[in-house]
């Protein structure tokens, strides 16, 4: 009996030690992967610096590899040497990493902090938890900006996505992303397809041809971009009249660089960006990164990030805490893609549909571009 009791006691001890990880069991350094530029700066200021201040002795390095994170993680996994601890990716990449077993599945309620009012993390993030491996940080959108000084005299400034396809009313070049996603949906929408019918239509051969035909009406006026910085540059140089890019890039061109550019939010395409934890991390590194993740994705930290960049926090509870821009002192809420005035007509991008059809449509799109 005594022996059993003693055994039970030790088991209880190990269980306790197993759940409450102490600081000694955590690694002292982290490698965080992000996109670089002003976005990474906002993460550094809002999440990392406060965390490092709370945890002296811990160091962290940034790796600006998010653009090729999926390929690099796959290569690291094959080589059996994953050097990253936390990786910032867009939602569709998170889904693919999860599918490939390269990202760790999380228990959102257990691994993440609850909202200050006690709402569980999974409720606070709501529908934005599009994958079991993904912790969203921000809602961003791909939307249009246009040169205010290039609007033809006597014409209303463009206000609808279909103005992009109207060369008669708004002559000039456009810049669009060199990929089918978003462009095909916008084209169908402006060809008269109702929003809820866009994906069913795009699932058919005729629908794809219809979208390409609509894009074909402006094809020779389009500059195709592949990096987010290109459209602001093209707009600033007056190379294009209007162009799509991430809303934060346009914000900095307008508010920080004072370019004669204005936003056109109609049919902006929402997307998410967030963290994934690579699968198969050793226990000490995992403990450290989970500790950081819990801190960096709590309500206050997500709201803090919005003081540096115009992307909407992914938690519902963070929205009321969004304040002014840290340096410019302007109110940030009206610049958020999620602001009701901006989000009157939005396009919800279907991750599942694109995960299935991306390869096929991309081949068709690229063949169409090359012709």
């Amino acid at each position: 009996m005594n022996l059993t009791k003693a055994l039970l006691a030790t088991t209880a001890l190990t269980v306790a030690a197993g759940t409450a990880v102490t600081a000694q069991d955590m690694a002292n350094s982290m490698t965080l992967v992000s996109w670089g530029g002003s976005y990474q700066v906002s993460q550094d200021k809002a999440y990392l610096q406060p965390y490092l201040a709370n945890n002296p002795g811990v160091s962290a390095t940034w790796d600006e590899s998010s653009a090729e994170a999926v390929a690099k993680l796959r290569a690291m996994n094959e080589a059996g040497n994953v050097t990253w601890d936390l990786v910032d990716v867009v939602a569709s990449d998170a889904m693919r990493l999860c599918d490939e077993g390269l990202a760790m599945e999380l228990d959102h309620d257990k691994d993440l902090a609850a909202a200050p009012d006690g709402t569980s993390a999974s409720e606070d993030f709501g529908d934005l938890l599009v994958s079991d491996c993904f912790v969203p940080q921000i809602v961003y959108s791909t939307t249009f900006g246009y040169r205010t000084d290039m609007v033809p005299a006597g014409t209303e400034p463009p206000s609808s996505i279909c103005d992009v396809f109207d060369l008669a009313k708004y002559p000039g070049k456009r810049s669009l992303q060199k990929r089918p996603i978003d462009n095909m949906e916008w084209a169908l929408y402006c060809d008269g397809v109702a929003k809820e019918d866009i994906y069913p239509t795009l699932s058919t051969e005729e629908g794809v041809n219809r979208a390409l035909a609509k894009l074909g009406t402006i094809k020779d006026q389009v500059v195709w971009w592949s990096a987010g910085a290109e459209t602001p540059q093209l707009l600033a140089d007056g190379e294009v009249f209007m162009g799509s890019t991430y809303n934060g890039r346009l914000f900095s061109a307008i508010a920080e660089q004072k370019q004669p550019i204005a936003m056109m939010w109609d049919m902006q395409s929402f997307d998410l960006d967030g963290w994934i934890v690579p699968a198969g991390l050793p226990a000490d590194r995992l403990a450290r990164v989970m500790d950081f993740l819990r801190f960096a994705t709590d309500t206050q930290r997500l709201a803090d990030q919005a003081a540096y960049i115009s992307y909407g926090p992914a938690r519902a509870s963070s929205a009321p805490l969004v304040g002014k821009h840290a340096e410019l002192g302007i109110e940030m809420a009206p610049h958020m893609p999620t602001d009701p005035a901006n989000a009157a007509n939005t396009h919800i991008y279907d991750y599942e549909w694109w995960a299935d059809n991306r390869d096929d449509l991309d081949a068709k799109f690229q063949a169409w571009l090359a012709q």
Binding site: A67, E68, V70, A71, R74, R96, C98, D99, E100, G101, K173, K178, N209, V223, W224, S226, D237, G238, E239, E352, A355, D356, N357, R358, D359, D360, L361, D362, A363, K364, Q366, A367, W368, L369, A370, Q371
Partner: protein, 555 residues
């Protein structure tokens, strides 16, 4: 002379046969030489030969289908490909998918097959979530018959046949081997479980499913088999075994652990096993014959699929066929890459030849200055030079501004010189020019000026002297420069990406896309292999036509 008539081998000074001693000395010398080049040899092997071999392998490798769905692939062999497969195939699929979903390998297979057929990715993802539910029905029914079916130890005893029972080692090692293939790793050691021989005779499906569960629990989850409740799939397997009336008969003569519960389960009415209906209810795409055809077509461990895709072809049930016109892209890109590389090489020859000639014939001081001018852009970052061309060539750029200011071009008709083939050719010609000039220069330097003077003194005019005497001697330099520029050009990636727009991109841009965005590494490898083969063929053709001995990089 006749003193040395003994017939034995010639001996060295130390008494060993001369032949052997010579060989030893030579070997030592060879080893020393090898040791000297060893760092380079190892570097080339590791950094060059191995990646190329890996690329060649990846372009045909396709083991994931057979490793993830081994039983399904086996069952599909007899399928006539006209209608949705029968229940037998769906049962195999259920067990394969269950294990794959536990190992989280099913979505990987989904993304692999999605390259061939859109929609398979979500088919595997959604069904992977549902397989637990499909098996749950049987677990519930069995537990109602005997609560023992809900207990880990009960199952363990029943399946191992109790202590001292004869066991079926082959079944267990088969399942471990299967798990090794699925997880692409190797496991050694004992799982702590052996299926009983009697059980695997009476309940073959259950024994197999439980052994798979045991292997997974021990090796992947690192848990004790006897303490874990078996998967829903094991219960489903038992339901399948009990469906067979012969099982009840066999059970009548069985008296191992769990015999009583099994006999009652055999006598009871278990829910009917309908994996086909259940999987189609989970996702109706399982009815699609074309999806099943893709699974069967890509089931062998090696495939030509990636290479076919890389030349705009595909495998169809009717055989190999050209892709539909709106999906053909690689043919266009390969042709364009070759054509533009050729144009760039010719432009480099035309622009580089006079410069090289000047450098070779000017006094040393001026030649050095010219050399620095040639090398200066060479030392500037590639990205900076490419971006500079953007500033120069764009519609609101320097050249257009000057042309408009001069009145040569109307403001609303500014020339389009970038984001097209023209932009790519201009920027790449500029970037690759030093690779043409330098070999030309080093060859021209070795041509004695006295030859030209001799030609002229024999009555040749300037042109004849140049064309008949000087030019033929400079051809090796042109050859070397051309090979260098052409081979660099067809693999170029970053410049076409930045200034190429849609009509000026190369095949390498597509390879990069498949490496980093679509993750179709097999296709990227096949495209890369074709590009490599194209270079080798061109090199061979060059050797036949011009002769590789005529290439000189210097003196």
């Amino acid at each position: 002379m006749s003193d040395t008539t003994h017939t034995g081998p010639v001996l060295a000074a130390d008494g060993t046969p001369l032949k052997r001693s010579l060989r030893r000395a030579l070997r030592a010398q060879k080893m020393r030489a090898l040791a000297l080049i060893a760092p380079l040899l190892i570097f080339v092997l590791v950094a060059f030969i191995a990646p190329i071999a890996d690329m060649l392998f990846r372009s045909v490798e396709n083991q994931i289908v057979g490793n993830t769905l081994p039983m399904t692939v086996e069952e599909l062999r007899d399928w006539d490909a006209t209608d949705t497969p029968d229940e037998q195939v769906f049962r195999a699929l259920f067990f394969d998918l269950f294990l794959a979903a536990e190992a989280k390998e099913h979505t990987k297979l989904g993304s692999r097959l999605n390259y061939e057929q859109s929609g398979i990715s979500s088919l595997f993802r959604t069904t992977g979530r549902d397989v637990d539910k499909i098996g749950k029905v049987f677990e519930k029914a069995l537990k109602e018959i005997d609560p023992g079916f809900g207990e880990a130890q009960f199952w363990y005893d029943m399946m191992s046949g109790g202590a001292g029972a004869e066991s079926n080692e082959r079944l267990m090692s088969n399942q471990i081997g299967r798990l090794e293939q699925l997880e692409v790793s190797s496991f050694s050691g004992d799982t702590g479980f052996m299926p009983g021989a009697a059980m695997s005779e009476i309940l073959p499906n259950t024994a197999r499913a439980y052994s798979a569960f045991a292997a997974f629990t021990h090796f992947v989850d690192a848990d004790v088999v006897a303490e874990k409740k078996p998967w829903e799939a094991v219960h489903a397997a038992l339901a399948i075994d009990l469906e067979d009336p012969a099982t009840a008969t066999a059970l009548a003569g069985y008296d191992g652990p769990g015999a009583d519960a099994l006999r009652r389960a055999a006598a009871a009415d278990l829910p009917p096993v309908g994996m086909k209906a259940a999987l189609i209810a989970s996702n109706k795409d399982w009815q699609r014959v074309d999806f099943w055809q893709v699974i069967r077509t890509y089931s062998p461990p090696y495939t030509t699929g990636y290479f076919l895709n890389a030349v705009d072809m595909e495998k169809t049930p009717q055989g190999i066929a050209l892709r539909s016109a709106d999906e053909r892209i690689y043919g266009i890109l390969f042709k364009r890459t070759m054509f533009m590389s050729l144009v760039i090489t010719i432009s480099c020859i035309l622009l580089g030849y006079p410069v090289a000639w000047l450098m070779a014939n000017l006094p040393a001081r001026k030649a050095n200055l010219l050399m620095i001018l040639v090398l200066l852009p060479f030392w500037t970052s590639l990205l900076v030079r490419t971006s500079a061309w953007k500033v120069m060539l764009q519609q609101q750029g320097v050249i257009n501004d000057v042309l408009v200011w001069l009145g040569l071009v109307a403001d609303e008709n500014r020339l389009i010189m970038i984001n097209n083939q023209f932009g790519t050719i201009v920027a790449m010609t500029h970037i690759l020019l030093p690779f043409m000039i330098l070999p030309m220069y080093s060859v021209m330097q070795t041509i004695p000026p006295s030859y030209l003077r001799a030609a002229k003194s024999l009555g040749a005019n300037n042109w004849t002297a140049f064309w008949r005497v000087y030019f033929p001697q400079s051809v090796p330099g042109i050859g070397a420069g051309s090979i260098l520029v052409f081979i660099l050009a067809i693999g170029y990636y970053i410049t076409p990406e930045i200034v190429g727009g849609t009509t000026g991109t190369f095949i390498s841009n597509r390879i990069a896309y498949h490496i980093s965005t679509s993750l179709n590494w097999g296709l990227a490898a096949a495209l890369g292999t074709i590009l490599l083969a194209a270079v080798l063929i061109l090199y061979w053709a060059y050797d036949r036509i011009v002769g590789i001995d005529n290439v000189k990089l210097g003196g």
